[in-house]
Symmetry: C2
């Protein structure tokens, strides 16, 4: 029954409702499908077994699932059922689930489990996963956890936490295979054979000198393709890019992408090898950073569809408050020209067009600049080239849309002077958008503010204020 659940041999599109196939090794057609483990059928069978308290069957259904699938299943259950399930599983709870859970659910599960069960799980995790798990805990919970850990694991976690947030020291994994350069290929392979088979995965063997400084690394394929009598020093790669333990994760991710790296060593201040970082840790960083930029540009700091209402409200309203202040600023500018508007109401009708176009053009420029900053593509030279391009784009787009807007408004209101003023204000505002869209992120970067977070408020404020001021100001000067 379990073995064939959902295994209909087709590859349907990825979707929560239609993901295909089972997580079994002896399935009917092992060559097809079996991509996603948690199919709706498996999930339904699980819920049925769970509600009828058939624990034997629950275990049978959970057992073949990947930790990511189990985590998914846990997240979709109610918190009460989830805790009940975990208590029933007891020691059989797969500790690998914890890193896959989203923060909120993990926190609640840990709260409900008590430090001892968590400690037991932590000892079975890789050091990087254990540190990631520990860094999300409250100080009290962390103390309880550390007290419950065996001395060796406690030291690993404490040392990991001693490095700054998001640094290489936090991300790195301490488990690694290190050999001296004078060993032979045969010696190294024999050494590896003495390991337990089910230890942590590794893709690279590090080579260090007597002082623990990295002097080389060997990919496993290279090791395997070499004859046993050859020396490690002959076949090792010496073009190393060791990462300092304090380097920030964003920079590490850029480095991995730039050089197409898969694994690399981490060194402490004395240049000694202290851990390794692998590409799969980098994936999470890239995701995180991309999401941060996306969310920051839209003024959303909560970021997930699972965040609670209170949390969401707090994060969103702060941004909306800021937006209210900038909107009031724009209104104050409009307020300066109340008399003009009273006399020529067409101005009130047309003025949002100028502001809106400026805001959009500015946001376009800002977005490209923010992305380029995140990817470290700006040097002084490219920044100037970019600024000049944006200025030209602003002028050309400004001319095009000045004409279009002027013609449209003339057709509408038949007031040539108003149309000419609209066109002129449009040109000015799009040029301003191009210039300030370049300068604002760069100035913010200089002053140490994250351009992704603050750029869009500044840019829309500038284009609103300038847009209204130029349009209404010219009207006040020329029309009355």
């Amino acid at each position: 029954m379990v073995n064939h659940a959902g295994h209909d041999g087709t590859n349907r599109p990825v979707n929560d409702d239609t993901i295909s196939s089972a997580q079994t090794s002896e399935a009917v057609s092992p060559n097809l499908g079996s991509i996603y483990g948690l199919t709706p059928k498996v999930e339904a069978a699980f819920h049925e077994a769970f509600s009828q308290q058939e624990w034997q069957r629950v275990r049978m259904l959970l057992d073949p699932l990947h930790p990511a699938d189990k985590a998914d299943l846990f997240e979709r259950m109610g918190m009460k059922e989830c805790v009940a399930l975990i208590q029933h599983l007891g020691d059989d709870l797969d500790p690998e689930i914890l890193p896959y859970l989203n923060d909120d659910v993990r926190e609640e599960i840990i709260d409900n489990l008590g430090p001892h069960i968590v400690a037991q799980s932590v000892t079975e995790l890789d050091s990087d996963d254990a540190v990631t798990l520990a860094e999300d805990l409250d100080p009290d919970e962390l103390d309880d956890l550390l007290a419950a850990l065996p001395v060796q694991d406690r030291e690993v976690v404490e040392q990991g936490l001693s490095y700054p947030d998001d640094s290489a020291g936090r991300m790195m994994q301490r488990e690694m295979v290190v050999v001296p350069p004078f060993w032979t290929v045969g010696q190294t392979i024999d050494h590896l054979r003495s390991f337990e088979p089910e230890r942590t995965e590794f893709y690279l063997i590090m080579v260090t000198d007597v002082n623990g400084h990295p002097v080389g690394e060997i990919r496993l394929d290279r090791l395997l393709c070499s004859a046993r009598p050859r020396r490690i020093s002959e076949i090792m790669e010496t073009d190393l890019r060791s990462i300092p333990v304090l380097m920030d994760q964003e920079e590490i991710a850029l480095l991995f992408r730039r050089y197409g790296m898969v694994t690399t060593g981490v060194i402490d201040e004395e240049g000694r090898l202290v851990g390794i970082i692998t590409l799969d840790d980098i994936i999470d960083v890239i995701d995180e950073e991309a999401e941060e930029d996306l969310m920051a540009l839209a003024g959303v700091s909560d970021g997930s569809i699972r965040t609670s209402i209170i949390e969401t409200l707090r994060a969103r309203s702060a941004w909306l408050m800021l937006n209210l202040m900038t909107a009031v600023l724009a209104s104050l500018v409009i307020g300066m020209f109340e008399e003009t508007i009273e006399k020529v109401v067409a101005l009130a009708v047309l003025m949002p067009i100028v502001a809106s176009m400026g805001g959009n053009a500015g946001t376009q420029t800002v977005t490209v600049a923010v992305r380029a900053i995140a990817m470290r593509e700006f040097s002084p030279k490219t920044a100037i080239t970019f600024g000049i391009r944006e200025l030209f784009v602003g002028i050309l787009n400004g001319l095009v849309f000045a004409v279009i807007a002027a013609v449209l408004s003339y057709i509408w209101f038949r007031q040539l002077d108003v149309s000419l003023i609209l066109g002129f204000a449009m040109l000015i505002n799009l040029v301003v958008a191009g210039i300030s869209g370049t300068l604002v992120p760069l100035i913010l970067l200089r002053t140490g503010v994250d351009p992704a977070v603050a750029s869009s408020v500044f840019i829309t404020t500038i284009t609103d204020v300038i847009g209204f001021f130029v349009f209404l100001g010219l009207a006040a000067l020329l029309l009355i």
Copy 2:
């Protein structure tokens, strides 16, 4: 000279002007620094040698650089110099540079090189890089290239191109190590030793049955830790997630992230193993998709600081044109209430506040929804939960900002009726923003339009129109 360039033993922050260290194997302190190869010193020395036409020194300086650094250097040169350099390098041009170049520069270089030199480079690339390079060519250039390729390579490229854009078939690498399940560990290792040492990298050995269907895979560390007499079938991982050759890259990336995969097999319609995809290919996809979403939400389809002015103008102005139309739509709504505004000018001053707040709140909701859609986090159940949360957030934020806006406007204009209308319009518009911010991306998804591209236009149009209409409409009803 070359060996010590920039190698001052410190690790400075990543920045074009201050990147540290050299790309050398015999450097003074091999354990420190040496992260970035293309330091300003190296670059300056290169430009000096190049301008004095000292080709020997140019080669010496280029030689130790990573292809990514060489590509960077090429991109920062003028096109004319770049072509001159490549012609001088001749056969010594490192073909690995080509995949690292950005599209525009690569295209120009290929145009200038002629099909034969390109063909020669392509034969030295991995099959996935060769296909990526070929897919960017014009039809004419592609024909020339294919004609210049040796038969075997031509077949590989043609077959790769026969799969749809962004499919597994395009991304996959054909070079892989495949063994039958009945081999022993020793046999496999001996087989690997018969390879040339400098072949393509691999992290996994695939196991197939007589029909070429994948039945297992073995990580190299597992192979190395196992005794020689053991059978492959005993130690292989049978819990496979083979990817169908037509699967889209976005889904493949999600799969890799979900299950923390590093390498996986690709199977054709008959379930036969045809290639492998590795995590480093996925990094590019994740970057690409994140950038697409970010740019799309801001209405920028050009996306890079290097895009030409013409290209940028075309891409941006299309979006601005769309924005102009929606702005005119909003103006038409305002135009319906010209008389009201003429009588109560405060309305003109205050109306942008309602629209702006609605637009911002809507963009917040849309951004979270678009990201969740991209990460496949929406199921019917979570979508409903999300919608309800956004509705509540809209109501609560609406109440808060209705009061604030009403109080502010009362202090300013001392007109109680105007203030109450402003507050009510604010409440309505923020609730509308929450509802439509949820519905618009989901409806777009249903109709097959990319929510990232179209959501933000729709949402700001809705909040502008509703905002102006409710505020001015209520004023027309109640004030006059």
